[in-house]
């Protein structure tokens, strides 16, 4: 690779050709502030519109200032990153941005975690000259079941637009209007509800301000916990425990399962359960379904649909309902772990503790915003009562814990309650890309071959590439497995299936980068992909440390089938644990 020598702040450095000034400066330990720029390294996600103009630097011989995030180094370049000209420019530009930004930081969901706020502090902005007569752009608020859009706070960094279009290929968002009136939103500035939005929440995950936030359900949870007539149970998704610690100053990748359980108990939840239990249940159902279709296929049944697609990611379910409705019988009919949990909690468990359905409140803690929408889907309600009453994100849980003056750093480690709190390592890895299919393989292999797995870790299914392929030997039968994370990657796989070019028997799809650990409800990563990698590591470590590593070996799952469901895919299981999908594509009608 060709090298380029340049000087930054009087320091000489040699970097690869094609490096940006910002990156070269970083290597020298010089921190040039950036706002719109975002790079999730190794995930192929980069936002580089060069729009905010905060990262400008002085380059000798150039008339104007150069945006360091998007200006490549050149041989002999002399760069000054913090001259008075630069400092004045950054501050003035920041004043411009803030002059068109609401000042309601007190009640903003992003307060304290806002990149714009941090930048204002960093650049020392203390007043906004001319604010008293500065016109501010105004848009209507959008309250969807999962995401709240307050475009008054949009600074046109375009990160959400890039995630929605390039990474997810959902296309719900686009920049609209021009100049001062421009912002990013759905077509016709309608609410997300009327768009192709999947509620994956990746727009929220990357938004540097409070323009895109989750719909907050903490008030509902507080109300439920305060109501003496209600029995409140909580379930926590696998990815939450690997990230929650970040909100309490712990290093990324610190698993806080025990402390989290302790905190939930102190918050007053009557039963602290684990979504992982339902993940094991999912494997039983989905794995059985996979084997059923596979066996039929191997026996020459031409009508059987293969590959089977996982269905535990609700954003992914929304995605194919919108974009590939003609393929809605291909994904597994198994409900997601959140919904399986809710269903079992409000039947099996409610019966067990003798509480009426309507007096049992199920709260889920999810790394995800699409789960909020999923919990509200009509098919997951019985007489209007939802199986899962409220779904709150990892971030919302952190707020609740903090509000209760609890600190994960000092809480003891405690165990989940039984019976819906026991889980296998296979369930834990649901939180990362490739995890669901690995969990399924662990179980399906042993059921299909009646042999014990010698090596439980399937390294070939792990990794961070957007699309991965592996062939697992089922005792002589090669099973082709595909894995995609990111809906753009999923789209490619679906197009292949549609075109009859897919060689896979089973495909796992997760909407978010890295799987659930990178979900839209997780602590904000602020563009640091090492955080996602650390979370992944924590998940695999948790799996490795579990005494039970395979779903079908979870004793409480076995018991659930014995006592209640019968066997996987039984009629009862079908009724409680499976679902169907809908065509949500836009229709043009003739009037």
């Amino acid at each position: 690779m060709e090298k380029v020598k340049l000087t930054i702040d009087d320091k000489l450095i040699e970097v690869e050709k094609g490096t940006t000034i910002h990156k070269a400066a970083k290597e020298l330990g010089i921190d040039i502030p950036v706002l719109c720029y975002m790079n999730l390294e190794d995930l192929g996600i980069e936002n580089k519109p060069g729009g905010c103009r905060i990262c400008v630097v002085e380059v000798e011989g150039r008339n104007n200032l150069a945006p360091s995030c998007s200006t490549n180094v050149q041989e002999g370049m002399v760069v000054h990153t913090h001259t008075m000209r630069v400092i004045n420019a950054r501050r003035t530009v920041m004043e411009f941005i803030l002059s068109d930004h609401p000042k309601d930081c007190l009640t903003c969901a992003k307060s304290g975690n806002c990149e714009l706020q941090d930048m204002a502090v960093k650049l020392g902005v203390r007043e906004i000259p001319g604010q008293e007569y500065a016109e501010m752009s105004e848009y209507k608020m959008d309250f969807s079941p999962s995401i709240i859009r307050d475009l008054d706070k949009c600074i046109m960094c375009r990160r959400c637009e890039m995630m929605c279009n390039e990474f997810q290929t959902v296309g719900a968002l686009s920049a609209f209007n021009r100049g001062f009136e421009s912002a990013v939103g759905p077509a016709f500035e309608m609410d997300l509800e009327y768009s192709t939005c999947t509620y994956c929440g990746q727009c929220v995950a990357v938004c540097p301000t409070g323009a895109l936030t989750e719909k907050d359900h903490t008030r509902d949870v507080i109300n439920a916990l305060s109501d003496p007539t209600k029995t409140v149970v909580v379930q926590t998704a696998p990815a939450v425990r690997a990230a929650l610690g970040e909100e309490f100053g712990l290093e990324a990748g610190t698993s806080v399962t025990g402390e989290m359980v302790a905190a939930l108990r102190r918050l007053g939840f009557d039963h602290v359960f684990d979504t992982d239990f339902a993940a094991d249940l999912t494997i039983m159902e989905e794995g059985t379904e996979l084997l059923g279709r596979l066996t039929a296929h191997l026996n020459g049944d031409k009508d059987v649909k293969l590959p089977i697609l996982t269905s535990c990611c609700p954003a992914w379910v929304n995605f194919f309902e919108h974009n590939f409705p003609e393929m809605k019988d291909i994904p597994s009919s198994a409900r997601s772990p959140q919904q399986m949990f809710g269903s079992i909690a409000k039947t099996y468990f409610a019966d067990k503790i003798n509480v009426k359905r309507e007096d049992l409140v199920v709260v889920s803690i999810m790394p995800c915003l699409a789960k909020k929408y999923e919990a509200q889907r009509d098919e997951f309600k019985v007489d209007g009562n939802p199986d899962v009453d409220f779904s709150i994100s990892t971030r919302e849980l952190a707020h609740l814990i903090k509000a209760a003056n609890l600190d994960l750093n000092t809480l003891p480690k405690e165990d989940f309650d039984k019976p819906l709190g026991e889980s296998s390592g296979a369930a834990v890895i649901f939180g990362v890309t490739g995890g669901v299919i690995e969990a399924a393989v662990r179980t399906a292999y042993e059921i299909q071959t009646s042999k014990k797995l010698e090596k439980i870790d399937f390294e070939e299914l792990r990794g961070i590439d957007g699309i991965r392929k592996a062939t697992v030997d089922f005792d002589g039968i090669p099973i082709n497995i595909g894995i995609a994370h990111g809906l753009g990657n999923a789209r490619k796989m679906l197009e292949d299936i549609k075109a009859g070019k897919s060689e896979f028997h089973a495909i796992e799809i997760m909407a978010c980068p890295g799987g659930c650990i990178g979900g839209g409800g997780q602590p904000i990563h602020h563009g640091d992909s090492s955080i996602l990698k650390a979370r992944t590591k924590a998940i695999y470590a948790e799996d490795a440390g579990k005494p039970i590593r395979k779903s079908h070996e979870n004793p409480y799952i076995i018991k659930l089938y014995e006592e209640f469901l019968g066997k996987p895919m039984s009629e009862k299981a079908h009724h409680l644990l499976h679902t169907g999908y809908f065509d949500k594509s836009n229709k043009i009608e003739i009037s």
Binding site: G171, A172, A175, D583, E589
Partner: protein, 162 residues
Amino acid sequence: MSSIKVKLKEQDLNKIKEICKSFNNEEGELINVLHKTQEHFGYLPAEIQEVVAQELNMSVAKVYGVVTFYSFFTMLPKGKFPISICTGTACYVRGADNVLQEFKRQLGIEVGETSEDGKYSLSCLRCVGACGLAPVVLVGDKTYGRVSAEGVKEILAEYQDK
């Protein structure tokens, strides 16, 4: 999240499809498609944009993003007599603003609006290149040169009974 239903007359739907097809349904031809469509329908309401998006296999948000970026495209129908006031520099220095204000006053509408009876709509455009006639006003295809604020009444009178 319910699916969106767009209602259009069959012949309109077919017309849009025909226009898209004439550009090979290529996404890159979006602006040309929008030009042709607006030429035919006079404006680009949401329904039309939905169909165009579907035909060109692209997101309707993007179509909307493009429609709202370019001032030539409009989502509102124009009046029977669209009035455009040139606000190019040459017209400006010769008093186009006074003319514009007078039109606004007489019609009781703002720029970009259409009068309640659908008769007039008001818009500004940047230089029609008839700078020798500044200030210039267009009503439909007809050009009025050297218009003064006092002359506005006269121009409108021409269309009173049409």
